[in-house]
């Protein structure tokens, strides 16, 4: 930069071009791998009976959406996904906060516990699913560990993997919570550790009760991180698929445990596959749902955590 004028000149041609040049590599990648596919999916979703082999379609319209929204499998998948989101996001965030608070208050063995709590994050999700299946499954030879514990309390064994809907949903929810907690604990532990000690000292001198310290100091201070976790939690849970596969196998429609992403996958590659138009329409519907929820989240949280 040869002169100060160029630095301060907003909209100065040379500076502007230079700025765009810096952005170019990232923009190219975004355009090629994010924007183009998104537009493409949008186009597929309005092309009636699109055939990817012959690249032909019958016409343009909202037929695909009408079909998908009337498809009982899709409606089931939407219901499953929403139940999963509504149950797992608050519970996993709340539990993670409790664990993080506990971790933050102990001194001895803190590092060891932090490592233990983080282990599920580095474990393969399918392997965890297998373990869950073994724990919950009821076969002719064994009732499974969970059923054995339940029977100690005088309850009749339930087949959690191949039994009633609520039992399967419960296993799926526990699994998802288990899978997402390590990351949340990690984020919340570091958020808690980053609250300056001096605030707690000030609160101590003023005789602040511990519940008030938590609600008036700790919670507001880590609120931005909680908001981040809730938003990413919502997005992640809406896109759940591998979790269900890990426990119930690829035939999710048979198991009654399909999710929206699972439906999209089935439409593309599943037994009844080969319907990219329906898949695209379902994907766009999911996109709209996630976008709406995220915007609502951002609006609500920016009002709740307004620090300045």
């Amino acid at each position: 930069m040869s002169s100060g004028k160029q630095l301060s000149g907003v909209g100065h041609t040379a500076t502007t071009i230079r700025g765009w040049l810096y952005l170019l590599p990232a923009l190219l990648f975004l355009a090629a791998f994010m924007i183009y596919p998104l537009i493409d999916v949008l186009i597929y979703s309005i092309e009636e009976g699109y055939n990817s082999a012959s690249q032909t379609s019958f016409g343009i319209g909202l037929y695909n959406y009408r079909y998908v929204l009337r498809d009982p499998y899709f409606l089931k998948a939407v219901k499953n996904t929403f139940i999963l989101v509504i149950i797992t996001v608050p519970i996993s965030t709340g539990l993670s906060l409790l664990v993080a608070l506990g971790l933050n208050s102990i001194k001895k063995l803190k590092n060891m516990f932090q490592t233990i709590f983080f282990l599920p994050y580095v474990t393969n999700t399918l392997a965890v699913g297998l373990v869950f299946m073994i724990l919950f499954r009821k076969t002719e030879y064994s009732d499974g560990l969970v059923n054995m514990i339940l029977s100690l309390f005088g309850m009749t064994p339930i087949d959690f993997i191949d039994g009633p809907y609520w039992a399967k949903m419960m296993v799926l929810c526990i699994y998802v919570i288990w899978i997402v907690m390590p990351f949340k604990i990690l984020i919340l532990t570091s958020a808690l550790a980053s609250v300056p000690d001096v605030y707690y000292q000030a609160a101590k001198i003023d005789g602040t009760p511990s519940w008030r310290v938590f609600t008036k100091i700790t919670l507001p201070m880590i609120a931005p991180m909680i908001v981040y976790l809730i938003i990413t939690g919502f997005i992640g849970a809406f896109k759940a698929y591998s979790d269900a596969v890990a426990i119930f196998g690829v035939n999710l429609n048979v198991a009654d445990m399909n999710t929206i992403v699972g439906y999209v996958y089935d439409m593309l590659y599943g037994d009844g596959g080969g319907y990219p138009s329906y898949a695209s329409a379902a994907a766009i519907i999911l996109f709209v749902i996630v976008l709406t929820i995220t915007v609502i989240n951002l609006v609500v949280s920016s009002q709740a955590t307004d620090i300045t």
Partner: protein, 363 residues
């Protein structure tokens, strides 16, 4: 409320795994802060003054010794039961609360009969805010205020619950020079108006001297001297205290006492009655020099700093490693062009210290 510290010792366990040596932050410290006075704990960083303050407010417990507030022994009392207000170095204002909410925070913690009504809380918060002159900014958040304003909020928050003792941990260190001068006057005024016993920690001797009723000079966890600022300045008990107080700093020379005469280099500069012959450190305050053509102390002239009313004669002498500063009235006819300058030494501005123990030798 007077604050009495009796034989306070604080030992921190070693943090370094290889070096097991414990850290003695405060060593056998005894002192009594008189009721309603403003006392400064003064010392270089790491001297244990903040640790001492934290022990008075209850965030740290002494390894041994007792702390009394008036007749009450508070050594084992938790911080919240001591009735102290603490102003932190970086203010520790809650960033998500407004000024009003910050000031009211300590009141909202009170329970039972002590708890004032909502109106009473608002009234008291406003009174505290008026005292520190921030009552016009009650709905701002700390992030929207300057350092000086935040400082005032912190003081208001400490005062609102009417503490028995007000403690301040380097309250001015985050302010710029101008604001620092202003705020220290302000702290003095607030302390006078409320009459609350105040203990103030600082490493800035000028700050300590200008506002306190009494200063406590510490080094390495040990109390060196206490007294009114002027007394300590005029009568330091050892070389450390003499060096630590005063700007510009005291001039220190290697000297010798022979036949009741003080020698700096080859020159006998002063008669010192009743001092036995030995090597000494000689401390001469900058204002202890009297320029005189027939003076007994000769220095090499280096230059003159003009300060208006006074001038600062900068010169050198073989007996001092540092450059010498003599502050003399501008009416004196000292020329920067001359090669050397001669002084007479004022006896009451000159202190002798033992060469090894660095304790004061009186004459």
């Amino acid at each position: 409320m007077e604050v009495k510290m009796e034989k306070i010792t604080k030992i921190f366990p070693s943090r370094d795994k290889k070096d097991k040596a414990e850290v003695v932050a405060v060593n056998d410290f005894s002192f009594e802060v008189p009721d309603g006075s403003l006392v400064c704990l003064l010392g270089p960083s790491g001297c244990g003054k903040s640790t001492l303050l934290y022990m008075i407010c209850g965030l740290e417990t002494p390894t041994s010794g007792r702390i009394n507030f008036g007749e009450q022994d508070v050594t084992d009392l938790p911080a919240e039961k001591r009735g102290v207000g603490l102003v932190f170095q970086n203010y520790a204002l809650y960033p998500h609360l407004t000024v009003r909410q910050n000031i009211k925070f300590p009141l909202e913690n009170l329970k039972g009969e002590e708890r004032p009504t909502k109106e009473e809380m608002d009234k008291r918060a406003l009174e505290a805010a008026k005292l520190v002159q921030i009552d016009g900014l009650m709905d701002r958040k700390p992030g929207q205020m300057s350092g000086g304003q935040q400082q005032r909020v912190a003081i208001a928050r400490a005062l609102v619950k009417m503490p028995k003792v007000l403690l301040m941990d380097e309250p001015l260190s985050n302010l710029d020079a101008r604001l620092r001068l202003q705020t220290r006057e302000e702290i003095r005024r607030i302390q006078r108006e409320t009459g609350i016993t105040t203990i103030f920690v600082t490493h800035d001797q000028e700050e300590a001297m200008s506002i306190s009723d009494m200063i406590v000079v510490m080094k390495d966890g040990v109390l060196h001297q206490t007294g009114k600022p002027q007394e300590v300045y005029d009568n330091p008990v050892n070389l450390f205290v003499a060096k630590f107080l005063g700007t510009p700093a005291i001039n220190v020379f290697e000297g010798k006492v022979k036949n009741e005469n003080l020698y700096i280099g080859e020159e006998a500069v002063l008669e010192v009655k009743g001092v036995e012959d030995k090597d000494v450190w000689v401390g001469i305050r900058p204002e202890g020099f009297d320029p005189d053509e027939n003076g007994r102390f000769t220095c090499k002239m280096q230059g003159i700093d003009v300060m208006g009313r006074d001038i600062s004669v900068v010169c050198r002498n073989m007996a001092s490693k540092e450059v010498i500063r003599a502050i003399v009235s501008a009416e004196n006819d000292v020329k920067a062009s001359s090669m050397e300058v001669k002084f007479n030494i004022k006896p009451h501005k000159t202190f002798l210290f033992d060469k090894t123990t660095e304790e004061r030798i009186r004459f």
